[in-house]
Amino acid sequence: MSSGQNPNIVTMEKGFDLIDAAVIKLKRILEGKPEPDFVPGEYIGNYTTVYNMCIQKPPHDWSQQLYEKYGSIFKDYATHTVLPSIMEKHDEYMLRELSRRWDINKIMVRWLSRFFFYLDRYFTVRRSFPSLTQVGMTSFRDHVYNNVHFNVKQVIIALIHKEREGQQIDRALLKNVLDIFVENGIGSMKRYEDDFEDFFLQESASYYSRRSSRWIQEDSCPEVAHYLHSDTEPKLVDIMQTHLLVLVAKQLLEKENSGCSALLRDDKTDDLSRMYRLYHAIPKGLEPVAEAFRLHVTAEGNALIKQAEDAATSGSVEEQVLVRKIIDLHDKYMVYVMDCFQNHTLFHKALKEAFEVFCNKKVAGSSSAELLATFCDNLFRKAGNDKSNDDSTIEATIDSVVKLLDYISDKDLFAEFYRKKQARRLLFGKFNDDHERSILTKLKGQFGGQFTSKMEGMVTDMQLAKDHQTGFEEYINGKPKVVDFTVTVLTTGFWPSYKTSDLNLPVEMVNCIESFKAYYAIKTNHRRLMWIYSLGTCNLNGRFDSKPIELIVSTYQAAVLCAFNNTERLTYQELLEQVNLNHEDLVRVLHSLSCAKYKFLNKQPASKTISKTDSFEFNSKFTDKMRRIKVPLPPVDDRKKVVEDVDKDRRYAIDASLVRIMKSRKVLPHQQLVSECVEQLSRMFKPDIKMIKKRIEDLITRDYLERDTENPNTFKYVA
């Protein structure tokens, strides 16, 4: 171009003056001072000034200087105006000022970078300098943010604290200010984290540690998350959980008035639900709660057991009361598991384990299996008499019984006691067929057909017996008259084993027996009848001097009494020969007839016990106001026998299980064999490990198994 001063060349001074003017105007606008907005012409003019200053050929290329000018505009403004204006304020006002100045800065950056835009097109790019925007932002950070953030942070934390204490604060402001922290990280969260978050979390930690107990009553997590950066929330929740729940979890659980045990003790179901929800969020948080629950239920159960034990007079336990209480306890805490604890498996498991502990305790010498069987027995016996106990109540109780049985490990023992008692119910009392069948159906559903097959057979027998009786009565119709006679035919194997005896019956009874035998032989093939006189009852007419009295006695007693039909007097020995009972039974019978409440026989000498040298006489002088007397013969108590029978069955069951396992596995180490055996049998009972060991040894002796010669701890199946 031509030399010399070109009037069109913009000098630096001239250019800077124009720019300064524009900047002043801009500042006035941004600060809210009365100032008209830039019109498009001004805008273009400013832009063009810069443009011209940049495209001019050196030495008039002012790009570098413009760039520096730009930077210094921000620096001066920040240092002389912005920073002081923030620093002179306090608390919320400081925050507001910061927020305001931040917004202003953003706009200023926007405007000025438009004016100076041409620099960004070539200059900054070519020189790889920070862009105009970057310069503007960095300037704020370096000259304002860096100098205020510490104090600002203090203010923010103070405000949050205020809110935690329940006061209202300007959350929007807080959000804006925290956004400033974030944005001054310029692409990284580091400023936010270092300058604010770390302090905040630290402070929160100590806050929650101090406030932990109060918190649990107030329940929900305060909604601090709202104005914090989203990254902070999980970190905060983590801190909260750590300090509030995990670190003090144990204390909280055990705390006297608000710990889990206390809540359970006081039935505070709402609080428990709350506790569940909160601990549910922590990994493994529910374990200690479930543990506290289990301990509590176990303690309550144990207390019931102890109560029953203490109340048991003369060795007899009030099982009706106890079992009812246990059923109620179960119902109560099952509701807890389903409601408060949202049906969570951990709590189902805790409930189960708790019940398994105390449901297997002995009470005053009786096992829980026996108690439960007795409970059922009484339930069914009384059902007939107690009209208030309607069918649906009985059904509900039966359901509870089946549930409880699940917790008892000696199920086979229960089955045996139940069977024995059922037999007595069916043979001697009035029984309700529906009830009997109902419980068996439920037991079968829960524990399998094998568990109930014998019992079901017994109930069916009673039905068949009725049919036979009808048939028999038709049969003897027209035949020579026999004494009225009912027979119940039992299928051996279903019923408990009873002793038979070679009782010498009075001749009248013999006729009955013979005629039934004949009838039965017609009706059936290849069946042998075994008469169990110990279970029979007889109605006798006692022709006493003052008035005749009907006596309802057992067959044994009847046989003894009828012996006196032909003789006035008999000695013990004579009776023994005539009636053909064994000593034990005869003594029992004679005692009931001569030393008990009703003395149908006179004994010489008149002592309290029967001896083999006694003699007996029919007591014709006997009388009573009743016309009919029932003289029960006390049954021999067979608890010991039941336990023995069950033990014997268990030995067979263990043998069978061991052989089954070894047959399929062929070779198995000892411990595995034992554990598999226990597993297989656990449905019915908990086998004693020592017994299993002894059975294994027995099987070795019987050549079913052998020890491995290399390894004596391993067994081999002998085919």
């Binding site: 180490p669 000892h670 411990q671 020592k690 060991k693 002894k694 294994i696 040894e697 070795i700 002796t701 020890r707 004596p712 701890n713 391993t714 067994f715």
Partner: protein, 228 residues
């Protein structure tokens, strides 16, 4: 087959009477001589009517050998001959043992006894001998147990020299306990394993969870209680 090959065999089949005067006959003579010695010895102790050495004969044998009647070495001899019935030695059994020991007179037999003992005490043989000792004492056909009394004596005889302490304690236990009236083979062998594997009397390496026969578990617990 080539004719030449067959020739030598044909030749050999003919006995060469010049060089070898009836070799088979002479060896027969030699072994029969041995047999005779053995048999003669047998007959010395055997019961003439039953044809076997009976308990009385064994007693005589023991006094000849100057060995006590209840000495373990007689049992070892029985083991050597695989005698089946306690208190009786058949001719065949007798021959087996004496042949194995290479003896045919009493003095020779007596000299061979220490050697026999050494042989039996070798670990591999001893386990077999130990099992044999139990079976030897069974008297009935299908019998599987020995009574406590017999077991105590047998243990003392068989293991007394090697496991004195274990035997003494176990015998004590057997005498006071009431659960077991008889001992079977598995329990018998179990005790031998016990002596070999378990350090005594501390029994620190005994594990109740292992497959030791129950009687040993109970012995262990009884002893522990005593030591407490």
């Amino acid at each position: 087959m080539p004719p030449s090959a067959s020739k030598p065999s044909k030749k050999r089949s003919k006995p060469d009477s010049a060089t070898d005067p009836v070799p088979s006959a002479s060896s027969k003579k030699k072994s029969s001589k041995e047999m005779d010695g053995t048999d003669q010895l047998f007959n010395k102790y055997a019961n003439t009517s039953s044809g076997v050495i009976d308990p009385e004969g064994i007693e005589k044998l023991c006094s000849s050998l100057k060995v006590p009647h209840t000495d373990i070495r007689i049992l070892m001899l029985a083991w050597r001959m695989k005698a089946e019935k306690q208190g009786y030695f058949t001719k065949a059994e007798w021959r087996t043992a004496l042949k194995a020991l290479k003896v045919d007179t009493i003095p020779k037999l007596k000299k061979a006894l220490p050697e026999l003992e050494k042989e039996v005490r070798k670990p591999l043989n001893f386990a077999d001998f130990y099992a044999y000792a139990f079976k030897y004492c069974l008297t009935e056909e299908k019998q599987k147990f020995l009574d406590i009394e017999t077991i105590c004596q047998l243990l003392d005889m068989v293991l007394g020299s090697t496991f004195r302490a274990q035997v003494d304690y176990f015998v004590d236990y057997l005498k006071v306990q009431k659960d077991y009236k008889v001992i079977n083979m598995d329990q018998w062998m179990g005790f031998y394993r016990f002596c070999n594997e378990i350090s005594f009397p501390d029994m620190t390496n005994y594990n109740l969870e292992n497959a030791w026969p129950s009687i040993l578990d109970e012995f262990f617990e009884w002893l522990r209680e005593k030591q407490a």
